[in-house]
Amino acid sequence: MSGHSNYEPKTGIERWLDTRLPIVRLAYDSIIDFPTPKNLNYWWTFGGILAVCLGIQLVTGIVLAMHYVPHVDHAFASVERIMRDVNYGWLIRYMHANGASMFFIAVYIHMFRGLYYGSYKAPREVLWILGCVIYLLMMATAFMGYVLPWGQMSFHGAVVITNLFGALPIVGEAITTWLWGGFAVDNPTLNRFFSLHYLLPFMIAGVVGLHIWALHVPGNNNPTGVNVKSKEDTVPFHPYYTVKDGFAIVVFLILFASFVFYNPNALGHADNYIPANPLVTPAHIVPEWYFLPFYAILRAVPDKLGGVLLMFGAIAVMFVLPWLDTSKVRSMRYRPTAKLYFFIFLLACLILGYCGGQLPDDHVIPHLSTFTLIDADLNSFVWLSRFAALYYFAYFLVILPILGLTETPLPQPESISAPVLSHPANAPAGAAASPEKRG
């Protein structure tokens, strides 16, 4: 998409088109000839996997929308009708429902890969920010999609989440009324959520286009974090990475298929097969698993507005990450101290996700009462969430800014080819992935 192009139109029609709309040149430069670092490991295949996830969600979603009825009296039954009476409707619907979870698994791995290898650092700040925008859009889309079957969790989840905006001063109430299309979650809410659930994926697709454009200007980062120095360091995208990504995509699809065909409801909540009833609140309202870390942060704060701000802050902080990390070294392969803090960060995120699914006052270690601190026993999930949330923010706001100035990184290789050619089996130990070990 930028710089030198090696495309040579071979046929008359290609030459004709090339001087009018160089779309074949664009495709050739982007996915055939694009020079890609030759040392990318399997963590780099999640970009392609995510593109496949988006494609699956779009195709299955468009077919589902042909059969779905966005009305509070018919939505639940229409989803069941899709699975009973539409040809292969069970397949389409289960692919779409599990596809959302698969999309989030892939996006979380993709994000942690970016965090570990410093893919957000110059000159890839815009690439990173566009990724954060995609993630935000994904969360909005997934939330609204979960409301559509109009089960108990759909309805009460929508009530909880839309009410969060009510905590904002002055504008809060107006925003919730506007989101609801009335004074409670009801048919107008379902209608607009359906409309937006159909719109947002195309916005995601648009931002994905920008994301790929922003990728192709500086080119891929790589596990060493060292810039590409020469042609020696790269291979053309096709066939080298089409085949490697293709393999990873199919392996990912095996995981996907194991859920769709053998455990299609494992990632959902049984209560969502009870039709929505505004008069009966489920014992525990739990969001989908991919929102649990943020749900835990929300509940960790005793004050509603504070919780809402902190929850959105957890995402907002990622937007400014490129300017928070002061280290000039991209890859944590050469930052042993940062690597340690990174894995604690990963653990903190998993702990937050676990806490999000528990009752805040339940004991972490069963049958052990310690002492009450502020509003809850210290041995409770709410306190565990607080410690994990504290670390979450400290990682971005304290650890990364200071560590970059104080740590002593390990020596980095001269170039991508250097460590490969001179020490084929001597990759830095403990790196999250060592491509050298696999052919």
Partner: protein, 282 residues
């Protein structure tokens, strides 16, 4: 690395999906009961589905609707009365005769009068009550839930239904059971407020308005199976599981083919990957 990645993802999933399973309230853990439809190659047992349908029809349907079910569903592939001779379940004589036993409310297209006519295989299962207030009025204020997707709407659905139906027992001393209520350790809920015993020994489960619906010998099975409480409960739970997921068998057999296809495809791609990258030091 890839294996590690998938293991990590699976671990994360296991961690994150576990809380959902625990969030069902303080009911007793469900009883263990084995079904033919479990596992990746599980199939419905047609005789069991027929027995289960009979239990539903003679007992449950007095109070519980199944609004998503039509008579034709009984004769579709993998259903209780599927007959390969009638690929179109609407032609299945058994299904037709079941439907004909019901009187369905309709509008006379000539006069516009409300009439009753014999059911056809295209009709839905008629509901026992005309509306929710009527259902509540006949059941001491409680609403018998629709059973169309019941096996999906509870954790461990088939086991839960079996446990609930066979799990009624005398309330322990110290538990005050309200009028028109029954104690069941498998029912979701919290009986703390009605418990006068020691605080750390609150009995599991909750109160349910439904009186014990099944008893030994209540339904006579046409295939000669002994009609015990456990057998009736197990069979009706199997029927309700089929009703919740009528395409389960199709899904699993389709999945098996899809898995084989994906595994072969993955193998081919891996071989191509090794070949293409053979001469690249990386």
């Amino acid at each position: 690395m890839l294996r590690k990645g998938i293991a990590l993802a699976a671990l994360g999933l296991a961690m994150l999906s576990a809380p959902a399973a625990l969030a069902a309230g303080a009911a007793a853990p469900v009883k263990h009961v084995e079904y033919s439809f479990e596992g990746p190659f599980g199939k419905f047992d047609q005789a069991q589905l027929q027995r289960g349908y009979k239990v539903y029809r003679e007992v449950c349907s007095a109070c519980h609707s199944m609004t998503l079910m039509s008579f034709r569903n009984l004769g579709q592939k993998d259903g209780p009365f599927y007959d390969p001779k009638y690929p179109n379940p609407n032609d299945n004589p058994y299904v037709k005769s079941i439907a004909k036993d019901y009187q369905i409310k309709d509008i006379d297209s000539e006069t516009g009068d409300v009439i009753e006519r014999p059911g056809t295989s295209a009709d839905r299962f008629p509901s026992p009550f005309p509306n929710e207030p009527a259902a509540r009025a006949s059941n001491g204020g409680a609403l018998p839930p629709d059973l169309s997707v019941m096996a999906k709407a509870r954790h461990h659905g088939p086991q839960y239904i079996y446990s609930l139906l066979t799990g009624y027992k005398e309330p322990p001393a110290g538990l005050k059971v309200g009028v028109g209520q029954h104690y069941n350790p498998y029912m979701a809920g919290d009986v703390t407020a009605a418990w006068s015993g020691p605080h750390d020994k609150v009995p599991p489960g909750g109160f349910i308005a439904m009186a014990p619906p099944l008893a030994a010998g209540q339904v006579t099975f046409d295939d000669g199976t002994k009609s015990t409480l456990e057998q009736e409960a197990k069979d009706v739970a199997a029927f309700l599981t089929w009703a919740s997921e009528p395409k389960m068998q199709e899904r699993k057999s389709f999945g098996f083919a899809a898995m084989i296809y994906l595994l072969i495809f993955a193998g081919l791609l891996y071989a191509s990957y090794r070949k293409i990258w053979k001469n690249v030091a990386h």
